[in-house]
Symmetry: C2
Subunit: 225 residues, 2 copies
DNA sequence: GTCTATATACGGATAGAC
DNA sequence: GTCTATCCGTATATAGAC
């Protein structure tokens, strides 16, 4: 905050290269990306890339970390909302991820590919485990299970189901468009439908139909800001 | 069949290279794979690769086509079973894909990555659309919708839900293992659980609970062998 | 900071001996 | 068919002028 002296619209060369690198790396992955592609995308000279970032590898790691953090922040924010019910959180996760990935279609495959190539390097340092397993979301899940409101005790199944229903069509979108003969417009509409449908499906598959929404935060969770 | 004169256990050099190429391409993708990696994996000399397959590109396309065909054959066989109900087909799809991908963990990300890099080349020629949209599975779905047995009229949602619940945990397995602190054994067990759970979930989320299983083939489908 | 020119390394592919 | 040695294009990275 204190030393943030960048221009409001940060169109500096360094920032242009970073943005271009993000786009190209996301689209083609590390190995298939040439530094020339990035320079061209950024509209700058190739030598400047090394001037600012030393190497392709260093630039990539920078992008990779930023991307991963951003991806999990989307989840972190929703999973730890203080004033929403479990059902509301489900709807938020679905909606936020659909919006995010419709805007950044290359994000999931990029992350999954590159994490696979470097499983430890990226995952060992980030506190993903903490963020998810100790989240308000999981606390609420545990509480609902205790009260007989949820039929499946393993919270991983619960989260996997939400993410599977939400992310899989986005991940497999090239195939889906081909199989269903959908253009971009149709595909977006299908995903908008799923924003409404998935929370309903999750409810009927995992939440007892006669369970009263007493799984509000008020009862158990303290707001310690 | 007629000209199949290969040795029973085909351990020929050509076959060794192909198998090695399959493994390495699946693990690292086209761009990150060096022909030297394949040669090493196969335990043969680098020059032999070009002797048998002319180029890295040609070898890759061979592997890619074989992989894609095999992947969709798994779906094709189940989707067009003549003597199974819709619910049975759901269970078969889930079980078959879980078994397949536990054995070949790199398959999904490999296919999705490479299809993305070359959307037309691979998908335009294969009759994926026909296989899926005109399958017995989809006919049965349509019939069940007509009889009020299924609540969601769009068959794409139906198939996406099955595949999303099944494939997403497999696709995201490195992340899942980290988040849930699962070793390989735990992970396999989780997927075995899902073999049983997913068909039940699908039933409760998309199939009317009081729907009689009259959606058998006998009534409508002809066996025209 | 930004450019041109170039050094250096790496990977795909082939020549030619065996 | 299989090997060794090598060629050659391409991509990363740097030197050095401006």
């Amino acid at each position: 905050m204190a030393k943030n002296k960048r221009t409001p619209i940060d169109t500096s060369t360094e920032e242009k290269i970073k943005e271009a690198a993000r786009v190209v790396f996301h689209r083609k992955g590390f190995a298939a990306t040439r530094t020339r592609d990035i320079a061209e995308e950024a509209g700058i000279n190739l030598a400047l890339l090394n001037y600012y970032f030393r190497s392709k590898q260093k630039l990539f790691e920078l992008i990779m970390v930023e991307t991963t953090v951003a991806f999990f922040r989307t989840m972190d924010i929703v999973l730890n909302e203080k004033n929403s019910s479990l059902e509301e959180k489900v709807a938020h996760i679905v909606s936020n991820y659909i919006d995010l990935i419709l805007k950044e279609p290359d994000l999931p495959i990029f992350m999954l590919s590159e994490i696979r190539n470097n499983p430890d390097l990226l995952l060992q340092r980030l506190p993903i485990e903490q963020v998810i397993m100790k989240s308000v979301f999981f606390q609420q899940h545990r509480q609902a299970v205790g009260e007989g409101g949820i039929t499946e005790a393993n919270p991983l199944h619960f989260l996997l189901n939400i993410l599977g229903l939400t992310l899989f069509p986005l991940i497999a979108s090239p195939l889906l468009k081909r199989v269903g003969n959908l253009n971009e417009e149709d595909f977006h509409q299908l995903m908008e439908e799923r924003k409404k449908l998935i929370p309903v499906w999750i409810k009927s598959m995992m939440i007892n139909s006669d369970y009263k929404p007493i799984l509000m935060d008020e009862s158990k969770l303290k707001e310690n800001d």
